[in-house]
Structure formats: C-alpha cells, structure tokens
Subunit: 305 residues, 2 copies
C-alpha cells in the first residue's frame, strides 16, 4: 500500500503489493475477530500452493460459515477495504516446487495481485513446514493472525522465514558475466545468485558467491533493486559489482557455462532478437530487470526491458 | 576474504570478515575430515554464546584430541591458512540475549575477528535452537560441516536463518527522523527498524515500517549499506527514504518518542558534544554509520562519525 516505486511497469513480479498489512490487527484478538467476521472479508483461494485465476484476477471468496480464524493467516486489508485471508493447510501435497501455473501468474493478473499471491504462498508454505517446534519437537500453533507460531510445550515463538539471496552481475570493461546452471532450458543465461549467510554483508555475499561460482574477484558492489521470491520465501537482492579481471574459473557443480556479454548482446537478448547470444530470463525474474538497469546505465538511449 | 569495502574503519561491527568460507570443503566429507585433522586447525573458544578475548584477540585453541567433527561447524579458513571451527552446544543456558561482553567485543579485537565471532555466534545459536525438525518433530543432526541440519526421520534439510531487517532514516527538508524505543538508555535515539516480511521488497518494508511506527509516508528509498547482526542472526539493511510530510503519528507500543533532527544536531550527537539533541547509537551499530553517511551527503565538509 505504501510502495515507493512510482513506475509499476518497471517492477519485477511479486513486488508492488497494495495490501495494508495492519500489524496492529494481527496482535489484537478483538480487532482480528472483527476482521474475520467482517462480511467484506475474503478468502484468497489457493489450490495447494498454486494460484487460482479467473477472468484475469485471483479468485477471492467469502469465508465459509464454519471457518475458524485460527486456521487462517490475515494477509491484510486490500484497497477495497476488504480483510483478505488465506487458509493454512497441513499437507502441501507434492506441490513444493513452483509449477508452470504459479510461474505464469504474473502474466495473468495485475501486479498487486501477483504480490498478494506471493505473500500467501510463502506464508502457507512456511506454516505447513513448521508445525513442530525446532527447539523441543513439540507441536506449534499459529498465533498473531498467522504471522508467527508458538510452541505449546516450551513456549518458543517462531517467525516466518525470509531468506536473503544476492543476485548479481559482475561488470568488466563494458561487459557483464552471464551464467547458466545445469538443466536450464537451452540457451538460457542469467545473473549468478546465492544465499546470504550468517555473518556477512550483502556486499560480502556478492563477492563470495561470485568468487565461488566463477572465480571472479569483485569490488564496488552497487545495490540496484530487490524482489520477494515466493519459492518458498526469498528476498532477492540485485546488485552490480566491478571485476578487475575477466578470467573465469567455474564451479562445475553449480555452473554449466558462463561468458562475458557486451551491451549489444544483452540488448539483443532482452529484445529476443534472432541471433542473440543468450535467451534472457523472463520478465518475472529480477535478473531481467537487473540486465535492463545495467543496459540503461551503459547505453541509456537504447535501453529496453 | 573477498570483502569489497576498502575503508575498514568505515564499516560497521561484524562486517569485514577475512575468512574463506570454503563451500567446497563443507560438502566434501574427505576434505572436511582433512581440515579437522589439520594440526593448524583451531577452535574458536566461546563461553556459551559469549566471546572469549585475551590480549586483544579472540582465543583460538587447538582442537581437543577426542573432538568429533560432527560436533563442530567449520567457519572457514583464516588468512593464516588455519581451518577455524566452533563447537556446537545443545544448551545455551540463560545467555540468549547479548551481554555487555558480546556488545563490547568490537572495541576489543580487530574487525575481522569481530566478524568471525558474529558468524560463530549466529550459527551456534541456530543449531541449539534447531535440534528438532519443524516439519515432523523428529531429531535433526548437523550436516555439511554445520551449515545445515537434516531430519533423521523425514529427511527434511534445514538451513541457518538470516533474517533481513530494514533500518532507515526518513529525510524531510534537511532533517531526519530519530526515534527511541521504550526502555532505552535516557537520551538514546536511533533509526527506526523492522523485519522484512515475506512478500515485500526492501523498499516496501522501509515504507511499511516507517508508516507503522511513525505514521510517515516515504518514497524514493535509497540503499546505503548492510551489516550482519548476530543477535541472533539478522542482516541489517540500512536505507534513507524521502518523506513529503513531517507529521508524526507514533505507534506508542513500539516507539517511546521521535523527532526530526537537523544536520547540526546529528553532527553534535555523533561528536558527543554537550547539549547534543540526542545520544547517538554506538559505533558497532549500523545506525551510527547511516547517520554519518547522511551527514556526509548533506554537509560533506563537516561530516564525522
């Protein structure tokens, strides 16, 4: 609701939420009960973890008459002043990995609904995988409108995870490093990426991952943008860093191939031109926006995403 | 080891690690065993979660003859080519909250040792609080040199948490918003902060927290720097955002008081001048560096941290 990017067409998928997360309602049982009893309240329908779309929108239904608030997470209040809930499930079924349906949702519904779906997916997934206390092994129950879980035995409180991931371009004399993992569609290349670990800054994580995966030493890391990525619950932190040397030493277990690509090649890839040196990541991926950002910086006149 | 900041005096505490995390050793049992058997290998001594300092350095000891690799986490290889381990514990005792000792370690040992301690503290804490599987409640055991835990029953793999937190200054006509929480030392003010939630970008989290805690709508969020914060395992993401209006509506449960402070006031606070409008956060806090960064931007000539 209070997003800061004023160019919604420029934001990556799953960003651009217009929901008010109403933290004060989560922690107030009376306000929460009133929201759940509100005739305007709606359930965001999910099929396991998959989105359900109809006529270009996510499906929102009235809450069932026998629904219990404790089985739901309050996602927030939408721009139409409707409290929006998602139902918690105990069994995710086989659907832990994103399907074509969840990956294509960004093409089917407006950006703020994509963001709503992403939030719901991350939370429903987290609850289903945290039914037991990691401290003592006893059962946990949802509290605070589904924004945490509490152990019924030792009392430990557990909060939803958000795992920071760095995704970055190394830049060297007007070219950027494009890499591909094993098993990706033929020709597809993207920015390198990896989880931020305890005890390191974003900048240190960028440098470590770039060295581990490609043998490239980088410095002068520049933050570009971020994206929530609900598979299951990452925060993608997109950066550009400077390399002093273009020698590659690839980690063969992680990286299938990598190469330095100039602005012309990146532009051709983003424009999906025939003969482009690689197939760019799809618009839902922050890596595509990162490439467009880099291109706009190095060749402003011709930039396109 | 591959950190990018070339002005170590300018980095916040717990950043500046010089350890090589050797991901390829973690996942290779033979290389891990060789590291553990290396006569140069050292144990980073901890007292519960607290640091142990002697003569201006952390205490590193040879591994005990009967030590088992499975009871340790491999922090990495230090600049002297020594594999550095920390011992996992099952009982943290009462010491979950940082004491004066852990908070003062940044004044006692070199920056890279502070970073090493922070990494160890986060990991030892995480292991002790994740002895059971959150999916099924069965016991878990450390794997991958202590960089994950695996459930002995359902096989789920669990990774150390790193919780992104936004910490930010709102800026309005040459002034920034300083706030204090209940119970802080008298006169102490800092930047506002809060956890990034699933489904939001860094920029959206900044805007949400600023609106929740102070009623201030912000836009044009600018990333400044980041810091690992090992109490227990956060990634502090420091930003500056623009406010169009300086009206405050404080969340009384979170915020005791807040006010807009001009550059002169911030400069006086950082210089610890008598009559300064507030007491600045200590050098170990990224908030102090954020204030110094803002000051250097708005009044370059007089900036000081």
């Amino acid at each position: 609701m209070h997003g800061t990017d004023r160019r919604p067409e420029a934001i990556p998928a799953f960003a651009g939420s217009r929901i008010d997360r109403v933290d004060h309602v989560r922690t107030n049982p009376d306000l929460l009960a009133a929201s759940f009893a509100d005739p305007a309240a709606r359930l965001l329908l999910l099929d396991g973890l998959e989105p359900v779309e109809r006529d270009g929108h996510l499906v929102l239904e009235p809450l069932a008459p026998d629904a219990r608030v404790d089985d739901h997470v309050l996602l927030g209040i939408d721009p139409a002043e409707r409290p929006i809930f998602a139902r918690l499930v105990t069994d995710l079924g086989p659907g832990l990995l994103p399907t074509a349906r969840s990956r294509s949702i960004a093409d089917l519904v407006p950006a703020d609904e994509v963001a709503l779906y992403g939030t719901a997916r991350s939370l429903v997934h987290w609850h289903a995988r945290h039914r037991f206390c990691s401290v003592c092994g006893a059962g946990t129950v949802p509290v605070k409108a589904g924004w945490s879980r509490k152990c019924g035995d030792c009392g430990a409180e557990h909060f939803p995870r958000t795992d920071p991931v760095v995704i970055m371009l190394a830049e060297h004399r007007g070219r950027v490093l494009m890499g591909r993992q094993h098993g990706w569609p033929e020709g597809r290349y993207s920015a390198l990426a990896g989880f931020v670990e305890p005890g390191e800054t974003i900048e240190e994580a960028v440098a470590r991952e770039m060295f581990e995966e490609a043998g490239v030493l980088v410095h002068s890391v520049r933050y570009v943008m971020s994206q929530p990525w609900p598979f299951p619950s990452s925060l993608m932190i997109a950066c550009i860093a400077q390399a002093d040397d273009d020698t590659l030493t690839l980690d063969a277990t992680e990286i299938d191939h990598a190469f330095w690509c100039d602005a012309q090649g990146v532009r051709a890839a983003l424009a999906e031109e025939e003969g482009a040196p690689f197939i760019a990541p799809p618009p839902m991926a922050v890596a595509r926006h990162l490439l467009a950002h880099w291109l706009a910086d190095v060749a402003p006149a011709d930039a396109s995403a």
